[in-house]
């Protein structure tokens, strides 16, 4: 049994960050609108970085343009460039929705992008719905930017009460740029469908019209606490109740996920469905049972965001019997304190938004045999000579094309494959 979890939050004047600024958080939220587009009112560096973040994990789906700000615009302003960029994007791609985000420079200079938004709305030639979101990186960090960006979508939501649909839910806090996000979403929808629940809208991995129709749902499901601010606003404005659930990693979390949703919707959980799913999981476990016995007690560290990192820590510790030495939460969310209660006793040390230098030193000192993290943790895994299983953001050095989710019941074979193969396939010579 692990010792009582310590929760360390460090104060720095400088740090090597494990998360981005609010511009990145907002970008992640808006880019999830599948027929939408993001226009950055920024110098080229921000645009280049965001484009790379998208393109390296999905060569087909990058919907981002920039307004071409030049240093001379820092003196005279460049609102006109933002408007031209909106027009060009509207004309070229005909998106349903365009989010205009400003970066640090135009925010400091004082470009009036509210006025640009108004001008764009008044322009009859621009057909897309336009939203200006103040995203300068110095204001907030990534997760706060993500939360605020989701809330900013409320103004587009249809308030017609008569449209309410029974047993339909919205998924909030789902990020379409996460590793295996497509497979995860397919599995979550399959599971909900299996217990008679329909997904109305995914915020954000859906078309704009679905975001608009979000108030139709009977319940908002908040994954791991990401997006709870939006759920609260929708509760107040549209009287939609919400439930915060763990990201469904593993059998228990998946069962609990379905139970909580059914409970909120006043439905009976379909036990036949659950038992069929359990039977399939059992088959997979049986096929690698000796490896699992062998790996029992394997020490590991997890580097991920609050929503997914805590879900994974519970799965690895409770279901696979791993010894989670360090859980480094790259970013908080508004449900952090609640979430931390759930892992009390399961994890030896928890770091919240740590400095990367100190986090790596802590993990190195902990002595681990496996690391769960992102592309940015590749060097650490190499230095520690342990396998790295990628699951958190950003994963830009692995592609995910197959329907093998990390979430839900069907995630179990995927996790077992990844974990067992990462160890037994390694070359070793005495």
């Amino acid at each position: 049994m692990a010792e009582e979890t310590e929760y360390e939050e460090q104060e720095h004047l400088s740090l090597d960050p494990t998360q981005g600024c609010q511009l990145i958080g907002a970008f992640r939220a808006f880019h999830g609108i599948k027929d939408g587009y993001v226009v950055l009112h920024s110098p080229p560096g921000c645009h280049s970085g965001m484009l790379l973040l998208r393109t390296l994990c999905d060569n087909a789906d990058a919907r981002i343009a920039f307004s071409g700000i030049h240093p001379r615009d820092f003196i005279y302003g460049a609102e006109h460039k933002a408007l031209i960029a909106l027009k060009k994007v509207d004309e070229t791609f005909k998106p349903a929705f365009i989010a205009l985000l400003d970066a640090c420079a135009p925010a400091i200079v004082g470009d009036d992008l509210d006025a640009v938004e108004v001008k764009a709305r008044e322009d009859a030639e621009i057909k897309s719905k336009i939203l200006y979101f103040s995203a300068a990186g110095f204001h907030k960090n990534m997760w706060l930017g993500y939360e605020s960006a989701l809330v900013s979508l409320v103004k587009f939501m249809d308030t017609n009460e008569s449209l309410k649909a029974k047993d339909s839910v919205n998924l909030i806090g789902f990020k379409d740029d996460g590793f295996k996000s497509v497979a995860d979403l397919t599995e979550i929808k399959r599971l909900l469908n299996g217990v008679g629940v329909k997904v109305n809208a995914v915020l954000t991995a859906d078309e704009f019209k679905q975001i608009v129709a979000a108030p139709k749902a009977s319940l908002n499901i908040v994954l791991g606490g990401d997006g709870v601010k939006l759920a609260k606003v929708m509760n107040k404005q549209f009287e939609i109740p919400y439930v915060v659930v763990d990201y469904p990693y593993g059998v228990s979390a998946t069962e609990r996920f379905l139970e909580r949703v059914c409970e909120e919707l006043d439905k009976e959980v379909d036990e036949i469905f659950l038992s069929q799913e359990r039977a399939r999981v059992k088959e997979s476990v049986e096929k690698v049972q000796f490896y699992l016995h062998g790996f029992y007690g394997l020490s590991c560290a997890i580097i991920g965001d609050t929503a997914k990192g805590i879900g994974l820590a519970k799965f690895l510790s409770s279901e696979l019997g791993f010894d989670v030495k360090v859980l480094a939460l790259t970013n908080k969310n508004f449900w952090l304190e609640e979430n931390l209660k759930g892992i009390s006793g399961l994890v030896q040390e928890v770091l919240v938004e740590p400095d990367r230098f100190e986090m790596e030193r802590c993990i190195a000192n902990a002595g681990i045999q496996m690391l769960f993290g992102s592309t940015f943790d590749k060097r650490l895994a190499n230095v520690e000579r342990v396998p790295l299983i990628r699951f958190s953001y950003p994963t830009i050095d692995n592609v995910a094309l197959t329907d093998t989710p990390y979430a839900g019941f069907r995630s179990i074979p995927t996790w077992l494959e990844s974990i067992v193969n990462s160890l037994v396939s390694r070359y070793y010579e005495v």
Binding site: H12, L13, S14, L15, D16, P17, T18, Q19, G20, C21, Q22, L23, I24, P43, P44, G45, C46, H47, S48, G49, M50, L51, L52, L53, T55, L56, A60, A62, A65, F66, S67, G68, I69, F74, E79, H80, K81, L83, I84, K88, T92, F93, A103, C104, A105, I108, V109, K119, G137, F138, H139, N141, M142, D355, F357, T375, F376, K378, I396, D397
Partner: protein, 507 residues
């Protein structure tokens, strides 16, 4: 040293190639100054960057746009927030320098400023001077803003090197007080290239000419190595660099860029743009010898090395002579087309000019000039090629078939190579050659000849999966979505929107 001797070269090259056709640099995006500066810091083993800005600038820039397979793992920053933007970030910068030194114990901290810190007017120099004077850091600290080198590109890269030269190497050091490594040169290549691999032969030829190698950068370069750069008499770079000019001005150390863009502007001699191949390499070696007063010794060495190489080349290139080759006209820049004609004895059958994207960067006259140079090169070596300007794939294939083209030297970055293969025309990837093999020296053309011979024997690729995709008619390597991204980027990028647009907006 970099790849050849690296046991992982087998996977490293395909890894590098995996990212070589991303349509990003100058096509749909331009990396900002921070990335360029990080390239420099990353190439100095005992240096650490400190990004003076919000966390986004440090987090996002971990992705290395020049080498996406190799993130910048260390990007500490000062975590600038809105209070700092109002009241100034100087205290945080000072504290950040101290913390960075305490954590990493580097020999050099390079402070990289960002939009936020640039705009609010933090006095970087004063903060650094004061922090150093307080004795809080035991290493060099310099800062780069992107403003030191005006329009020299890549801005961040040029500026960071300039900053190191200005604030560290030439700061208070007198030319006469400097120890000299007599008769030696520095060889400096862009850190994206494998410096060790690419200068090995060059260093060997120079040594034989009696010219010593003071330093090769960037190849496991340390701060100590940088301090020793001024000991040389000449610094050789691949492209013109602002920092070498500064070192000449301050310390009298001459510089020489192998691609002589500045000399070309005056003379219009296209050979100055082509430092590779037998003739190009001879020109480079002779120029270095001239500057080092070693012309006498050099002549014999160069003649002998050249003769030996030509003898071997003529053996190897037997299957290539007279073969018809299609390629992209680049005016000799990068020299591959010159090597095909001059060293391989191949005949130009089709020259493809892709001018899309260039229109925003070059004047019509300059584009014409590039095209003319390519054509003149071809004619000089007895070819009368078909010229295609911005053809679609079908037109390009038709021309290649019509002219009986044996090999298309075309990159997937600009051409639908898979479609050409499907039509039974073999291809050679010039990007792969440029990234991994091209270098100054007489051995390089021999290696090229081997590779071209291999390419001519490659089995046909009848059904590439890539042919399943629909491509843009103009940007033939891109699906329509990416072609639109490229078009819109070229429309909106800096300078493309003028004052007229602003006046219209203000109405």
């Amino acid at each position: 040293m970099y790849e050849e001797e690296n046991e992982e070269a087998g996977f490293l090259r395909p890894l590098i190639n995996a990212y070589s056709t991303l349509p990003l640099h100058g096509i749909t995006a331009i990396p900002g100054k921070i990335s360029g500066a990080l390239m420099v810091v990353d190439a100095i083993q005992d240096a650490v960057p400190l990004i003076h800005g919000p966390i986004g600038c440090a987090f996002q820039r971990k992705i290395n746009p020049f080498k996406p397979y190799m993130p910048f793992y260390e990007t500490p920053c000062t975590d600038m927030n809105d209070l700092d933007v109002v009241y100034g970030g100087e205290d945080k910068l000072s504290q950040g320098i101290k913390e960075t030194y305490e954590k990493y114990h580097p020999n050099l901290i390079v402070v990289i400023t960002t939009c936020a810190s640039d705009l609010i007017g933090d006095d970087f120099k004063a903060v650094i001077d004061e922090t150093k004077a307080n004795g809080d850091v035991g290493c060099e600290v310099v800062y780069t803003t992107g403003d030191f080198t005006a329009k020299s590109k890549p801005v961040g890269y040029q500026d960071a090197l300039y900053a190191i030269t200005d604030q560290m190497l030439c700061n208070g050091v007198k030319e006469e007080g400097m120890d000299k490594n007599e008769g030696s040169v520095n060889i400096v290549t862009f850190p994206i290239h494998g410096a060790g691999l690419k200068v090995e032969e060059m260093a060997s030829v120079l040594n034989e000419m009696g010219i010593g190698i003071n330093k090769v950068c960037f190849d496991h370069t340390t701060v100590k190595d940088l301090y020793e750069l001024p000991k040389a008499e000449l610094t050789i770079t691949d492209y013109p660099m602002a920092w070498t000019k500064l070192m000449k001005k301050r310390m009298g150390i001459d510089y020489y860029a192998t691609v002589r863009l500045e000399a070309y502007r005056d003379s219009k001699d296209a050979e100055l743009l082509s430092p590779y191949g037998i003739e190009g390499s001879e020109m480079v070696f002779m120029e270095i010898a001239k500057r080092m007063n070693k012309e006498g010794e050099a002549e014999e060495v160069i003649d002998r090395r050249k003769r030996e190489a030509i003898e071997r080349l003529y053996e190897v290139r037997k299957g290539l002579e007279g073969k018809k080759v299609a390629y992209t006209g680049m005016g000799g820049l990068h020299s591959l087309e010159v090597m095909l004609l001059q060293d391989m004895g191949m005949k130009a059958s089709v020259i493809i000019y892709n001018t899309r994207g260039l229109e925003q960067l070059l004047s019509k006259d300059a584009i014409r000039e590039v095209l003319d140079i390519s054509l003149e090169w071809a004619r000089k070596y007895g070819s009368d090629p078909e010229i295609l300007v911005n053809p679609n794939t079908e037109e390009a294939i038709k021309a290649m078939k019509r002219t009986g083209t044996d090999l298309a030297v075309l990159s997937s970055l600009n051409n639908a190579v898979h479609e050409i293969n499907k039509e039974g025309i073999r291809t050679f990837n010039p990007l792969d050659f440029m990234l991994h093999h091209q270098r100054i020296g007489f051995e390089c053309p021999i290696e090229l000849a081997f590779q071209l011979n291999d390419a001519l024997k490659k089995p046909e690729r009848r059904d590439p999966l890539l042919c399943m995709l629909e491509y843009d008619n103009c940007r033939t390597n891109l699906i329509p979505h990416w072609a639109k991204l490229a078009d819109i980027f070229m429309t909106l990028r800096e300078g493309a929107i003028g004052d007229t647009d602003k006046a219209t907006y203000l109405k």
